[in-house]
Symmetry: C2
Subunit: 337 residues, 2 copies
C-alpha cells in the first residue's frame, strides 16, 4: 500500500508532518509519499533516521493555505501539495491521502478530483469523537454540509456504520440521530423525515439522542448535519479546555491544594490524553471515490502518525467499495418514501 501525505498542509507543516511520517514508518511496511516542497521536506527528513526507499518525496511547487477559497484553490493551484496528493490517489499511484490542510479544499478536491461515489449525494467528514473511558464514537457529518436533506442524513448514517464496522471493528454499530428530545415527534421537518428513513433502513438505528448523551457513548455513530456536528466538535474542544484550565487553577490555589495537585499530576495528564483528539487518528472523508483522512489543522506528529495508522484499515478493508455496494439499498429506502 502507498500512502500520500500532504507535507505542506496545517499549522505545523512541514515539521510535524514529516516527523509524524517518520514515526509511522517505523511501525508499518507501507510506503509513504510526502507531497510538498522537496527542499523543505528533505531538510526535515534529514533530522531523522529513515528508510529512503520507504519514505519518498513528490515535489509540489504550490501550497493551498487556509485563506484560500476552497473551490477556486483546487481549480487553480494544480501544482499544490493538496491537489497533487489527490491526483496520486485518482491515478492509482497512492491508496490513501492524508492532509492537515484547508478542510474546504480537501472536500472540494475530493469531489472534483476523485468524484462522489455514485448514489451518494453528499460526502461527509466523519470525526472520531472521544467517549471518555470507552474509546470513540463517529460523528457524521462533522462540518462538510451545513444544510442537509433527510436522505443526506441517511447516507451519513450508512457510511458511518460501514466505517465503524470495517475500521474500528464494531459489530453492528448503533446509530443515533441528534435531536432536541428523544421522542419521534421532536425536531425540525428535516430531522423528522430523516428519522423515518433511518427507521426503515437496515442500519442499527436506536432513535433520537440528545446532545447530553453524545459524550456518554450512547451510540457508535452520531448522525447530524454539518452545522450541528461542527458545534458538537468545537464545543467539546472548548469546554474540555476550559474545564481542564479551571481544574488546574483551582488545584494550585493554597498549599494543601498544591500538594494534592502534585500527587494528582499524573492522573490529570492521563485525563487530558483521553481528551486529546490527536490520539484518535483524524477524520475520514466518506462518500468520495478514494480514501482521504483529514487531520486537525494544528496536528502534531502524534496526530499525523495516528492518522496514517488509522488510514490503513480504511483502505485495506475496502470501505469505499463497501459504501458503493450499499448505495442500491439506500436508494430503495429513499424511493419507498
Amino acid at each position: 500500500m502507498r500512502i500520500a501525505i500532504d507535507g505542506m498542509g496545517g499549522d505545523n507543516a512541514p515539521l510535524e508532518i514529516v516527523k509524524g511520517c517518520v514515526e509511522a514508518a517505523k511501525l508499518i511496511d507501507e510506503d509513504l509519499i510526502i507531497v510538498g516542497d522537496r527542499e523543505q521536506i528533505q531538510n526535515e527528513l534529514d533530522k531523522y533516521e529513515y528508510n529512503p526507499s520507504q519514505i519518498t518525496i513528490l515535489h509540489a511547487e504550490d501550497v493551498i493555505t487556509n485563506d484560500d477559497a476552497p473551490v477556486r484553490a483546487v481549480r487553480t493551484k494544480t501544482e499544490s501539495s493538496l491537489v497533487k496528493g489527490l491526483v496520486l490517489v485518482k491515478e492509482g499511484q497512492a491508496d490513501l491521502f492524508v492532509s492537515a490542510g484547508n478542510t474546504g479544499a480537501i472536500m472540494a478536491g475530493g469531489l472534483f478530483i476523485l468524484g462522489r461515489i455514485q448514489g451518494i449525494d453528499r460526502p461527509a467528514i466523519a470525526a472520531t469523537y472521544p467517549v471518555l473511558g470507552k474509546g470513540v464514537a463517529l460523528l457524521v457529518d462533522s462540518g462538510a454540509n451545513v444544510e442537509c436533506k433527510p436522505n443526506n442524513l441517511l447516507e451519513f448514517a450508512t457510511m458511518g456504520s460501514i466505517y465503524m464496522q470495517k475500521v474500528l471493528d464494531v459489530e453492528d454499530p448503533t446509530v443515533g440521530l441528534v435531536n432536541i428530545g428523544t421522542e419521534e415527534t421532536k425536531g425540525t421537518t428535516v430531522i423528522k423525515a430523516a428519522y423515518e428513513l433511518l427507521q426503515k433502513s437496515s442500519i442499527n438505528f436506536i432513535g433520537n439522542i440528545e446532545a447530553r448523551d453524545v459524550p456518554k457513548g450512547t451510540c457508535d455513530v452520531i448522525v447530524c448535519d454539518g452545522f450541528v456536528g461542527n458545534v458538537i466538535l468545537k464545543l467539546t474542544e472548548g469546554l474540555a479546555w476550559t474545564i481542564f484550565k479551571l481544574v488546574k487553577t483551582k488545584f494550585t490555589e493554597g498549599l494543601l491544594s498544591k500538594m494534592g495537585a502534585l500527587l494528582l499530576a499524573g492522573k490529570l495528564k492521563e485525563l487530558k490524553s483521553e481528551f486529546d483528539y490527536s490520539e484518535y487518528g483524524g477524520a475520514p472523508i466518506l462518500g468520495v471515490k478514494g480514501a482521504i483522512v483529514k487531520m486537525h489543522g494544528s496536528s502534531g506528529s502524534t496526530a499525523v502518525k495516528n492518522a496514517i495508522l488509522r488510514g490503513i484499515p480504511y483502505v485495506r478493508n475496502n470501505v469505499v467499495q463497501t459504501i458503493q455496494d450499499s448505495v442500491l439499498e439506500l436508494e430503495e429506502v429513499i424511493i419507498s418514501e
Copy 2:
C-alpha cells in the same frame, strides 16, 4: 411585587418548590403565591417557619405533566397550576410566573395566555450559560424555536441584550452569532442573512463565534436557533457530567491519588458548583407580554430560590416594556433589507 410559583411543575414538586419559596421569602419583601394542590403545598409549608401573609396558596386542581402535549394541555387543562399561574400574571394579580414544569406548555401558555409582544415574531427561552470563572452569558434561543428565520435571530439578539443590561447589569453587552467559522461568509443561508441584520442593528454585535468560544465567555449574548441552543446546553451538561465523573474515578485510583483526592475534595466541590445550573436562576422567556422564568425540570430548592431572586430585577427593571420599546427599531432594520 407579587410572584406566582408553579407549585406542581418539575420532577421535585411540590417538595423542593415549596422549600425554595420559603428560602427565597426570607431574603425578600415580595409576596409569593404558590399555585397548586392546596393540601400538598400546605403540608410542605408546615415543615418550615414562614410568614403566611407573605407566602399564600392559590389552589389548582390539575397538573400539566411532561407527558402532556403542550398546546392541547394549555387549552384543556385550564385548572392546572401552570395555566392558573399565567392567568394571575395576565390579570395583573402577579408580576412574575416561575415554573419548573413542561417547557413546551410554558411557552404555549406564554403565547396563548399572555400573548406575544407586538412586533416580536418568536418569543425565546434565554438560558444563562455558566462561563467558568466569569459568571454567565445568555444563550438565546435555548430550545423554543427549532427552525428560525433571520429576523428571529435578530429578535433574540435584541431581547437578550436588553435582559443582560437590565437584569445582569452588563453595560453594552456583546452579542455573538454561533456559526461554523468566524468569517462573514460562513454558515447557512439563514445565518448569513442574520449576520447582515445584526450588523445593521444598534446592538453590540461582535460577529460570528465558533462553539469552542462559547464556554470561554467571548460574548455576553450567544445567539442561535433553538435546535443549536438545545445542543449547546445539553452537550455542556453531558460533558461536564462526564468529565467530573472521570476526574473522580481517576483521582481515586491508587493510594497516592486517594490522598491527593482527599486534599482536593473541597476544590472539586467548588468546581462543580461553578458548573451548577441551579446557581444561575433559571431561564427567562423573552418576547411575551409578561415576565416568566422557566426552571430546569430537576430543579432543587436552591434553583427555585435563585429563579425567584433573579426574576425580581426582570420585573422591576421593566424588561418586557423595554423589549416592546425596541420593536420599532427592529422593524426598521428588517425593512431596510
